[in-house]
Symmetry: C2
Subunit: 150 residues, 2 copies
């Protein structure tokens, strides 16, 4: 068996990040999932199906998620004229603002978590972690495009 200290540490990191996400979301009176939705839309609007792929959810789960975000005025469904089955999900002005602000806050808090670190190491690590994140993966857990830099 390999040394798994890194794996264990990463699992804990994931829990920590979830909490940061949860805390920041609460400040905006939204759920982490809704914030994630908004942040993802900063990368451009898409349809329900593509979003469900990107978030790793079933289509049927998206309906409710978008419903609730729409009810809060963060997002609108725009019926596609070409394909009248489809609809694009777009950020409202308010939604865009919230997405930006939340993204900033999350990033800042994670930065604070990282703390002081040698600039060389930082750059190196960024490359390494990006590599892991972008590595090709089986579709089942393909995409984690949310929280891309705006």
């Amino acid at each position: 068996m390999e040394d798994t200290g890194l794996a264990t540490a990463l699992v804990r990191l994931a829990h920590l990040v979830s909490r940061v996400y949860a805390e920041v979301s609460k400040e905006f009176e939204l759920t982490p999932q809704q914030i994630q939705l908004l942040c993802m839309l900063l990368g451009g609007s898409t349809g329900m199906t593509e979003m469900s792929r990107a978030l790793g959810l079933e289509k049927s789960s998206m309906t409710g998620l978008v419903d609730r975000a729409e009810r809060r005025g963060m997002v609108v469904r725009v019926r596609d004229q070409r394909d009248r089955r489809a609809c694009g999900i777009e950020l409202t002005d308010q939604g865009r603002k919230v997405a930006h602000d939340a993204h900033r806050k999350v990033t800042a808090q994670v930065e604070a978590l990282i703390g002081e670190i040698d600039p060389d190491d930082r750059e190196r690590l960024e490359t390494v972690v990006m590599g892991i994140v972008h590595a090709p993966r089986p579709a089942t857990r393909a995409a984690t495009r949310a929280h891309s830099p705006a």
Copy 2:
């Protein structure tokens, strides 16, 4: 404003790890929360209040979580004889086995996620992540003791 690329990369990595957690949980027909509960109990049994602190949940949330784990035979409430208000939560044999197996699987899959990586980078990453995870933190998001190595 600082460069926040590393923070962003870590957030994405955390999302990825969360998915691994979710996938493994599904294999055991449990939810991620239940698996986390079991893994935490590998470190020794505790009462409801302490567990809620460790998991960052309200006491009232624990009741249901433990109920469901108990219904599945993973865990038992043991009434404390000294303090008859309190009860200890203990793993059943089956619960312990599931906790161990799940922990192993999660660790292995996260290792796989990391993949081939330069040993120097690996060490650097481990140092940084360990540092983040073990850093003292305000109580509000204090503990993430689950998934300690068995």
